[in-house]
């Protein structure tokens, strides 16, 4: 069922076929400029255009939080935003969290507390924890649980994730 035919005549490119939008975005301190379709989802922009594949897609309906990134200082689900909305924005993804090869205390706490298994949800959880601890540097267990209730993990039963965030909070407070 190919539509390709032999001797297809050459045609000029249909520039009007779809409208593109020029966006400038700063991700992890690096400036990017691209022309994108209006409907391009931010998560696809980050993953497939910029090439930062640490941000994952788990549900497509803004329920699982695997795609969580920090957008102008706030945690958001990048599967439920358009790339055009990010024009002029500052975004932090999992790849931008460790500085000079040093793990961020949250990353280290996840490692030390076995807060991940398959690792697929992990970038989303770490980014959400990053925002949560900025908002509330001294959270109680219940506040952590509520704070990560927009993220789903199938492997850990959450217990070690909560523990890791507790440890990271303590360490970040002492800094």
């Amino acid at each position: 069922m190919f539509k390709m035919e032999k001797n297809t005549p050459i045609k000029p490119v249909e520039t009007q076929q779809k409208q593109l939008y020029h966006i400038k975005v700063n991700i992890n301190g690096v400036d990017y400029e691209h022309d994108v379709e209006a409907r391009l989802l931010l998560v696809h922009y980050i993953r497939d255009v910029v090439g930062l594949t640490g941000t994952h897609i788990g549900c497509d309906t803004s329920n699982c939080g695997a795609c969580t990134v920090i957008f102008n200082g706030k945690s958001v689900k990048s599967c439920t935003m358009f790339a055009v909305q990010a024009n002029g924005a500052k975004i932090l993804t999992i790849e931008g969290l460790s500085k000079n090869g040093e793990l961020h205390p949250i990353q280290r706490a996840f490692w030390e507390n076995h807060a991940l298994q398959c690792g697929y949800c992990t970038p989303g959880f770490i980014m959400q924890a990053y925002w949560l601890l900025k908002e509330n540097p001294n959270p109680k267990e219940e506040e952590i649980r509520k704070g990560i209730s927009g993220n789903l993990c199938r492997c850990t039963g959450y217990q070690n994730i909560v523990k890791a965030i507790m440890q990271a909070a303590k360490e970040l407070r002492s800094k």
């Binding site: 779809k18 409208q19 939008y21 379709e37 209006a38 409907r39 989802l41 497509d60 309906t61 803004s62 329920n63 939080g65 969580t68 706030k74 945690s75 958001v76 689900k77 439920t80 935003m81 358009f82 055009v84 909305q85 024009n87 959400q128 925002w131 949560l132 509520k146 704070g147 990560i148 209730s149 927009g150 993220n151």
Partner: protein, 291 residues
Amino acid sequence: MIPRNFIYFSPSSEKEALELLNEYKSDARILAGGMSLIPLMKMRLVSPSYLIDINKVESLSYIKEEKNRLRIGALTRYYEIEKSSTLKKLLPIMNEAATWVGDPQVRNMGTIGGSLSHADPSGDFGSVILALNGQIITSSLNGQRTIKADDFFVDSFTTALNANEMLKEIVIDLPEGMNGGAYVKLERKAGDFAIVAVAAQLSIDSKGNCNYAGIGLTSVGPTNLKAKKAESFLLGKQLNERTIDETAEIAASEARPIDDPLRGSAEYKRAMVKVLTKRALNLALKRARGV
């Protein structure tokens, strides 16, 4: 899940947004937080030809105390509502209800104006605004309109907004004297749509009689419902176990739930309206009394 394509606008002023809306009317949608709209677009249940992104119109985001009124801009995010010290002081039911909306990331983006315009009967804030007798201020190139919250919700996902009109702000008369409110929600799991939720706002006079009662119901009808009979039953009465019980019973009779295979039968939902109304009223009363 990929939406159909659309033409995108990012106006920087309310006027510019209204001009676009006036031009494209029902072919256009306003994008605020996008927490309801974008999933619908991704599932291709909604496919606007034009998207008017008002996120750059910062003048639409505010929580202002003004004489005896409170004004909340349409673009105010649930995060702001949850954290607002003004609301904590004047209308803490708002802060409480905000903590029940979606999840933290959704609240970081989601706006009060967006939710109310979306008019999902399982939305949380419709009930709160109904319980508070709020007013919706709309704007269009033709000027502004004031619509009582009760008249704003027409049907499921249908509001009194005209195609060239957008929700601009919510205005609430501040309660007087001893008052308190509560938003109580029964849900399958955190962040889910309510099985049932109830917003209750009370004021009591020095004798302990009720001089304001507002009750809003979530997920038990085609829209968020105002339990008007229950409210008027309570007005002027002493608040005690018996009157609260009767009020809750009336509220349950005002509910119009339908069977939901996932979130509960109509029978269960109706029964839960009673349970939750009681709980909300008791909590509101406790808060009104300052205990």
